[in-house]
Subunit: 421 residues, 2 copies
């Protein structure tokens, strides 16, 4: 964690759907990540609905920090109360900002025209949205909602709209305001290092870290099991770089064989880069993962020069017809077997015409499970110009986690096939 | 929202990775959804790291509500401070619970044996985890972490572990404790109704709701644009059922053509049920969505009796070889065209042998975009025994949102083809 001399921040997110569990908040995680990268220590995220007393209490608590960032509650209706309640919590008057009002009016007139509704329907909302705490410095508008910064005693409050795209754009514009800059200038951005492992347990990595002397002295280490991988994040305070180098060097030897990347590239990007470096193309054949491996690979921009396609062969007939899995393999070993996985991987290479094929077949749910082949049994196979690799596991999770685990395992199998050849 | 006489709750989530933006909190949304369904009004979610002063402040604020539920900070190490700080905030002594200690010791001895480490390494952690505030009522253990409830003045605090699976299991066990029951018994669970629309704007649904008299009088309506659909949630207080019926009846006429389900079934489940009812099988052919349509369909347990498979034809050569899209169609119209979408849908029906085929082709990123075919242009086609349907759109979002929007559009296109035939 950043040193105690760093500025500290609170994030207040408002939205009634968020305290009902109808929607997950994306803005708090975005903002704390941004704050941390600036060297501002995020102390808390508070999520409240639109009840005025709750929101006011949360804003009041937030003003006790060096930085308060708020998300949401800037709309034109009476439920949108962030501005009014922030002014009350700060003990500041509200006033109409004439320049902002002209801009909101122009935008509202355009909307009225487009919707063919009289402008009078919008007028009261315009005045409401142009009403800001005295001293507010406007960063920009999201639609008709102004985002702004306000100095309240020792705190700078940054007030942003709720839709994530708008919040992110206006956050970056708010960082250019002098009032925000002056606080951020006091912060010293930490260095952030990431090590990502696959195939090793969280406790082994934790033991390696402990044996290496553990964190502290300006290096804060988090070990996190995430997406069936183990991620080690080192947050390095300014001046502690050598301590971090030493910790890394001491930590790695027992677990280095499982390290697949330094940095934040997901395994699908690592796989695509490794294939690209060798000039190889890649195809996938999926059964229980039903397209999830393809989805991960195609989520990477520019994947099309490596990734050519997939056959999702959910039905056995499709394994035969579209992948050429021999009927006798299916009969003798079953659809969930090492032999079928191998035939699928080779079949998709040939049928789709790719250098590498990777296949997954398994049992993600009750349908098809037997005593010998329980839910969670998965076979994987990768086939390429430099050889073949197979893997299997049996995992007692729910349908989604079995599928996600199999997807990650398939991507890492290809990675090993390519990088170890 | 539940009436002001309902018990009110705060949720406090602790975890340093959560205030760094490294991981998104799943427990807050789960818990507020659960509380609301019991008739307890969730007032706030506070997320803090492991800084003791922050966590203690959040717990103190939470004890001002009728119910406080905490997540995380129950582990064996010194960073896990929820129990100690709750006791301090509540002004209650800590004491070792002998029965719990025996149980944690037994579990720790088994772990020590499995890891071949001396039990002495675990002993201090065992005593720490068995130390609870006086008066705590244990709900159960997650590994070696006890979950418990504690009455503090007017508040019942429910203390749960952080891993979501464990938290959910122990939450249900905590609800069986008498101390928790007595508070929940004061609550009156609201009825919850959901209407889901596709193809209509949020503002049209909002206008229909307003014209129908709006919410209030015990019916609280939320209109939410979610996953490119519009969801209307009605939370109906006990006694307001007729008001809710009347509101629904008045709201629907102008937007009924876009209503695709009452309830919380996602569109993929609606599609599978509609196909199943007609005895039809389904296959998908995907380009820019790269397996996302397949993934959504196969996420539904039991999908395999309807869904047979997919060809993800990312490369044009695969569109020809695996789907039989004629080379002259690709040449004359391009891979992103209505003609190619139609050929893909018909091709996958034939090649994979399904009653219905649905195809998506589009431009999700800069690669392949031109002035005539900009990023965000997507063509869809569904082909089945009862006819064909085509759709296209041009959407200025980022790669992921274009892909997600195209996925939703493909599922709804199949739904319309099947249900309107």
């Amino acid at each position: 964690m950043a040193s105690r001399l760093s500025p500290r921040a609170a994030v207040v997110v408002t939205g009634s759907e968020l305290v009902r569990g109808d929607r997950r908040d994306l803005n708090g995680p975005f903002l704390v990540h941004e704050l941390l990268s600036l060297g501002v220590e995020p102390a808390r995220i508070t999520i409240v609905g639109d009840a005025p007393d709750e929101l006011e209490a949360a804003l009041r608590e937030g003003l006790a920090y060096d930085v308060l960032v708020t998300s949401g509650g800037l709309g034109p209706t009476h439920d949108d109360r962030t501005v009014e309640l922030l002014a009350r919590a700060a003990g500041v008057e509200l006033e109409v900002d004439a320049a902002v009002e002209r801009e909101i009016e122009a935008r509202s007139r355009a909307v009225a025209e487009r919707l063919r509704r009289p402008y009078a329907d919008f007028a009261s909302g315009v005045t409401k949205q142009a009403t800001l705490p005295r001293g507010a410095v406007v960063a920009g508008l999201a639609g008709t909602a102004p985002a702004f910064a306000l100095i309240v005693g020792e705190c700078v409050a940054v007030v942003l709209p709720g839709p994530p795209g708008e919040l992110q754009a206006l956050w970056h514009r708010a960082l250019d305001l002098d009032v925000v800059r002056s606080v951020v200038a006091r912060a010293q951005p930490p260095q952030r290092r990431t090590l990502r492992f696959y195939g090793v347990s969280e406790s082994s990595v934790a033991a390696a870290l402990e044996a290496a002397g553990g964190d502290g002295d300006g290096v804060d280490a988090t070990i996190c099991a995430r997406h069936f991988e183990i991620h080690v994040d080192l947050v390095v305070a300014p001046g502690a770089e050598r301590r971090a180098d030493a910790l890394e060097a001491a930590l790695l030897p027992p677990v280095e064989g499982f390290l697949y990347t330094r940095g934040e590239a997901p395994v699908e990007a690592v796989v695509l880069d490794a294939c690209r470096a060798r000039g190889w193309t890649l195809a996938t054949a999926e059964s229980c993962t039903g397209g999830m491996v393809a989805e991960r690979l195609t989520s990477v921009p520019g994947s099309s020069d490596v990734y050519v396609g997939s056959v999702v062969s959910y039905a056995d007939a499709v394994k035969e017809s579209a992948l050429g899995v021999p009927a006798e393999v299916l009969r003798a070993h079953g659809a969930v077997s090492a032999a079928t996985a191998a035939a699928m991987a080779r079949g998709v290479r040939e049928r789709i015409g790719a250098d590498i094929g990777v296949a997954v077949t398994g049992i993600a749910g009750q349908g098809g499970a037997t005593a010998e082949k329980p839910v969670g049994l998965v076979y994987l196979h990768a086939s390429g110009p430099a050889g073949e690799l197979a893997a299997d596991f049996s995992y007692g999770g729910d349908r989604e986690s079995i599928r996600r685990r199999a997807t990650v395992a398939a991507l890492h199998l290809v990675r090993r096939l390519v990088t170890e050849s």
